[in-house]
């Protein structure tokens, strides 16, 4: 019995049947699993449209890593990732006895947001029933079929390759030359760039039937589901919340020792209320399990504010949404710049702000990197392996960033995508310089002596194009901080040798200074078209989570808006907040919480703390 072999002593690999060939784009789903005593599971929860876009890219990365790890012809760096995928994935078995390996994920989306993907996935489906077999009714049957969503070229290819791999196992092979493939790949990349409507359009991952939940029966357009008030009852009404919690429990129950929940929430609309209600439930049911939350939003959700009324509306939503989510999570990381493509974070990228497919790709890459430390194989408290260093679990993460003297639970996410080469003195500043915030409304160049950072660098290259070793990266970072003018109080460094692989359905967002392995070139490639997965195969990444007073503008804006539009006498938004179901004392508590957050971050908090 697979699920049962958990004893600390059992380190024997459990043998799976592994397909003898590699599938090129959907990486195979079966890999040998090693049960380690220290393995601790994470349940991922994605709530809302943009969160699912990010999630789709995120799981594509994981799928790509799984596939690369099992292909013996690949770069050894991918074969020895020293990442424990079991932290995020679960092993299961269908009723027919076929083993499966799927993300431990609950995704909540709008009804109809799954496009051509069935909410139950395909792994666990028996032969699809014909329309005639209604066994519960002897009377007449009327069938109402909505126009089927056509699978796009990419999804068709996935399906074909899967069928092909099965037939190849059976001995027959279909001859398709490599050149044909290349032409097809080009077509797919172009198609995805122009025609992504649903997050499932570019997903190559198989999901568990319990994973994908659609919020139904709301009788509104997705674009109307855009504020906290509209979503506030969506969770509690009509067994929806119960169903979501049941699905979550399914994944928690089978986990031997869960280390935490990893939330990605699109907090730009009604889904933030859904997530807040779900979090409230989690706080109740799994009281000691830490929650790490990424509050994400797409650039397009932050545009088009026409009237003053809408501005107030939006700002109150932002405030309420942030404070509700923050109050239920151990660490919250706001992610999402209003103008991503113009920001410094995308210096080497070519992004179109209005395409969620593009923007989510950047954030997903940063999320992948930021979550590496709690997926690394822990080698021991002191020893370092050759491939990874600096494993921390979620609890450690939270303690480190939010548990120090200041108890600040809001962290800033910075990313350097791709990370610059690490060597030579002239480049030393560029690593810190390239780390640019993906968190909105943060101040630049603040000197915060109490700042705490966790830096994650993986796949870093030296300037000669070779991969830097773990110790080289460590030394370089040490040297950088040694020379830096402002230094954080504490910096934790996690390093991995494995870079970020770029799967085929990744958008073409790299500028012409990015090389095949993500190296930054001195002279640009000719041609102005952005480079994508066919030209760039992997990139080195550096990200940093920091707890710093640079977050102050973000917090102060929210506190200010709450006071101006909600708490003051005769405030313009007071009526609105009442409609959203907030009583005066709740708003007061919210204000109290925000002002406490602000005052802990102020350098001289004991002087400036006001009692408003």
């Amino acid at each position: 019995m697979l699920q049962d072999s958990f004893q600390a002593t059992s380190r024997q690999p459990i043998c799976f049947q592994v397909y003898p060939i590699t599938i090129r784009i959907r990486r195979i789903t079966l890999v040998p699993v090693y049960w380690l005593a220290a393995m601790r599971e994470i349940v991922t929860v994605q709530v809302g449209g943009f969160a699912n876009f990010i999630g789709s890219h995120f799981w594509n990365f994981q799928d790509e890593l799984l596939g690369l790890a099992s292909d013996p012809n690949n770069d050894p760096v991918f074969r020895n990732q020293c990442l424990n995928m079991d932290v995020l994935y679960r092993t299961g078995e269908t009723q027919q006895g076929v083993l499966t390996y799927t993300p431990r994920l609950v995704s909540v989306g709008f009804q109809g947001s799954l496009g051509s993907m069935s909410s139950r996935g395909v792994l666990y489906n028996e032969s699809s029933p014909g329309p005639s077999d209604v066994v519960t009714w002897s009377g007449s049957v009327s069938t109402h079929a909505s126009a089927p969503h056509k699978k796009n070229l990419f999804l068709q290819r996935l399906y074909e390759e899967e069928q092909e791999s099965f037939s190849m196992i059976n001995g027959t092979s279909s001859g398709k030359s490599d050149s044909q493939r290349e032409i097809q790949d080009k077509g797919i990349v172009e198609l995805l760039d122009n025609h992504v409507e649903f997050w499932t359009d570019f997903s190559k991952v198989h999901y568990h039937p319990q994973s994908l939940y659609e919020l139904g029966g709301l009788w509104m357009d997705p674009q109307d589901f855009d504020n906290y008030g509209i979503g506030k009852d969506a969770f509690s009404e009509g067994f929806r919340g119960e169903e979501i919690c049941e699905r979550l429990r399914f994944f928690v129950e089978e986990s031997d020792h869960i280390q935490g929940f990893q939330f990605v929430v699109d907090d730009s609309g009604g889904f933030s209320a859904v997530a807040a209600d779900l979090l409230e439930n989690i706080a109740d049911e799994y009281a000691n399990t830490p929650v790490l939350l990424f509050a994400v939003r797409s650039p397009s959700s932050q545009m088009n504010l026409r009237s003053r009324k809408q501005t107030i509306f939006r700002e109150l939503h932002d405030t309420v949404s942030f404070s509700r989510l923050a109050s239920f999570s151990k660490l919250i990381v706001p992610v999402g710049l209003p103008f991503l493509s113009e920001s410094k974070a995308s210096t080497f990228l070519r992004i179109e702000n209005e395409k969620p497919y593009h923007c989510s790709a950047v954030y997903a890459a940063a999320l992948h990197s930021a979550t590496l430390p709690y997926r690394m194989e822990p080698v021991g408290p002191t020893a370092d392996s050759f491939d990874v260093s600096g494993a921390v679990d979620i609890n450690g993460f939270v303690q480190m960033l939010a548990g120090q003297a200041r108890q600040n639970t809001v962290a800033i996410l910075d990313a350097a995508m791709p990370a610059p080469a690490l060597n030579g003195k002239q480049h030393e500043q560029s690593l810190l310089g390239n780390l640019q915030p993906l968190t909105p409304e943060v101040s630049e160049d603040v000197e915060d002596l109490q700042a705490v950072e966790s830096m994650i660098i993986h796949g870093a290259l030296r300037s000669d194009g070779r991969r830097a070793s773990i110790s080289e990266v460590k030394e370089t970072v040490n040297a950088i901080y040694g020379h830096a003018i402002t230094r954080p109080m504490f910096c934790h460094l996690s390093v991995a040798r494995c870079p970020l692989p770029i799967p085929l359905p990744y958008p073409s967002i790299f500028g012409n200074l990015v090389g095949q392995y993500g190296e930054l070139l001195n002279s640009p490639f000719v041609g102005s078209s952005p480079r994508g997965s066919l030209e760039v195969h992997s990139i080195p990444m550096a990200v940093r989570l920091r707890s710093s007073s640079a977050i102050l503008p973000f917090l102060e804006n929210r506190l200010g808006n709450l006071r101006r539009y909600g708490l003051q006498r005769g405030a313009l938004g007071a009526e609105l907040l009442r409609n959203w179901g907030f009583a005066d004392d709740e708003l007061y508590d919210m204000g109290e919480m925000l002002s406490k957050m602000v005052s802990t971050m102020k350098p001289h908090s004991e002087i400036s703390s006001d009692s408003d």
């Binding site: 069935s118 139950r120 029933p129 519960t136 909505s146 029966g217 009788w219 509104m220 408290p381 934790h492």
Partner: protein, 540 residues
């Protein structure tokens, strides 16, 4: 008007156009749901864009699956869904009743009547109908034990509109037995309402739907997570608890603050000991109650149990389940006795429950644990089996409605004759008695309301492929002769619903009579519809 000045782009519909928009929306929704009604209705199979299938004969489920855009239709749908929330059934009836009220009103308005007068007539008719319902209902005496025959008739009436006959009849017994077991508790404590959540609905994707059965006890959707624990045990003590049996890193001592590995190991060992101590207390209790006999001991915990704890429990011969549903904690206590324990300090033999048989059933990766042969089950499980998900979902919906029907009957202490008998009787009452007492044109409102009531028998006849005119004339005739009759769906002849055992819920009927005219009146009194972009519908 001021809105038009403020927003020149706003699209304004004038009075008659607005009225017709409302009427058409109501009729449209009625057309969709009409074919659902009754035991001869049509089941609907909905196929989504990705090929997902939903099966439904239930108006409530159907409405929730529909992408309704029209604001009037949304208003009606919300009323109908609220109807289901309150009384558990009658969604389809509400929608077709509102649709019919609007249809009748349209006729009157086209003849030049003012909506206000109609609405007044509706109000009078509604009050009169509710009074009539009080007289018409059949009281059910709830003694120490509910009369199962009448409960079965009500449940069967509901279930036969959702499932084919023999399956419906099989489920009728299951549903009635499940609620009766529960209601014994409530009769003892009449101030507490029947909590239908104490009936667990569990499903297995397996075999065929006739395997659906009542388990007197509980079925949990998980099993033990240790290879050495027994898969089947008889004569079991059941410990229901909410105690964390996993090692949780305490908040202050995060890993990287240790100065060396030995210190860390020591801390971990110390914290591990606390967990082990809790496990040891449970094992002590087991040894105390199980020594000298071959009884077994089962722990069902709402919190987690980690592998080392499982290992200790397994070695002591205890079966342990972790992360049980919160509601199952209550259900277990109702089913097995004993009480739920929140701390190992409260452990006494008195808090243990009892089950004659506990066993595990495995289907692929899904595990089920059956806790059966309990002494005095007040909480039981309806185990639904079906070949695929959409069949299971449909049976589940039907069972839920059946449970609600039984619960309503016990709480109402009354039922209403079905098969359209009530609607025809009420119509005759309104036309023959009430209309005369009303002065002026409001009479027409009463008449419109009375005719709208007939939509139920009409639709039943239509769905059964009968001639509606013949049926209505026959029914009216019998009622005028003083016979209370309903419609026989097979032959089209009048039948006595009392003899056939066709009963509806009193509270469902009352709710329909109450809410239908309210919504219809609101829709009729609309003067203007102003469409000024999306933001109109948002709360501001």
């Amino acid at each position: 008007m001021s809105l038009r000045v403020l927003n020149p782009n706003a699209e304004v519909l004038n009075k008659s156009a607005a009225l017709h928009m409302n009427i058409n929306a109501a009729k449209g929704l009625q057309d969709v749901l009409k074919t659902n009604l009754g035991p001869k209705g049509t089941i609907k199979m909905l196929v989504g864009g990705a090929g997902d299938i939903k099966l439904t004969k239930d108006g409530n489920t159907l409405l929730k699956e529909m992408q309704i855009q029209n604001p009037t239709a949304i208003m009606i749908a919300r009323t109908a869904v609220a109807q289901d929330d309150i009384s558990g059934d009658g969604t389809t009836s509400t929608v077709i009743f509102i649709g019919e009220l609007m249809k009748q009103s349209e006729r009157c308005i086209d003849e030049g009547m003012h909506p206000r007068v109609l609405v007044d007539g509706f109000e009078i008719a509604k009050r009169a109908t509710l009074q009539f319902l009080e007289k018409f209902k059949t009281p059910v005496v709830m003694g120490d034990e509910p009369d199962k025959e009448i409960l079965k008739m009500v449940a069967r009436t509901t279930l036969r509109t959702k499932l084919y006959e023999s399956l419906a009849d099989q489920l009728t017994d299951i549903v009635v037995n499940a609620v009766s077991a529960l209601s014994v508790l409530c009769i003892r404590k009449p101030e507490e309402a029947i909590d239908l959540f104490m009936v667990e609905l569990m499903h297995m994707r397996h075999k065929f739907d006739v395997d659906t059965r009542l388990v007197e006890g509980l079925v949990l959707d998980h099993g033990s997570r240790h290879p050495d624990m027994k898969r089947r045990a008889e004569n079991c003590y059941i410990l229901t608890c909410n105690v964390s049996l996993e090692y949780e890193k305490s908040e202050v001592n995060a890993g990287f603050f240790y100065s060396n590995a030995e210190q860390r190991e020591a801390m971990v060992a110390a914290e591990r000991r606390q967990v082990d101590e809790k496990v040891r207390r449970i094992i002590e209790l087991k040894n105390k109650v199980c020594s000298g006999n071959d009884n077994n001991f089962v722990v069902i915990n709402q919190k987690g149990i980690d592998p080392p704890s499982l290992d200790l429990l397994a070695r002591a011969g205890i079966i342990a389940l972790r992360r049980a549903k919160r509601r199952n904690m209550e259900r277990l206590v109702l089913a097995c006795g004993g009480e739920a324990v929140n701390s190992v300090d409260d452990l006494t033999p008195g808090c243990l429950g009892w089950a004659g048989l506990v066993y595990e059933h495995v289907l692929g990766e899904e595990k089920y644990t059956f806790v059966e042969n309990v002494k005095n089950p007040h909480s039981c499980t309806i185990l639904i089996k079906g070949p695929n998900d959409h069949t299971i979902a449909q049976i589940k919906d039907a069972v839920r409605d059946g449970l609600r029907a039984v619960k309503n009957t016990i709480e109402d202490e009354a039922v209403v004759l079905g098969a359209g008998a009530f609607e025809v009787a009420a119509r005759q009452y309104l036309v023959n008695e009430v209309k005369k007492t009303v002065e002026g044109r409001a009479q027409l409102g009463v008449e419109a309301f009375a005719d709208a009531l007939l939509v139920v028998p009409k639709t039943l006849a239509e769905n059964a492929g009968l001639d509606t005119q013949d049926v209505i004339i026959a029914l009216k005739g019998e009622h005028d002769r003083g016979n209370i009759v309903g419609l026989n769906q097979h032959s089209g002849d009048p039948i006595d619903p009392l003899m056939e055992g066709i009963f509806d819920n009193y509270s469902v009927k009352r709710q329909i009579i109450n809410s239908g005219p309210v919504i219809a009146s609101q829709l009729l009194l609309v003067d203007e519809v102003i469409r000024a972009g999306r933001n109109m519908r948002k709360p501001t």
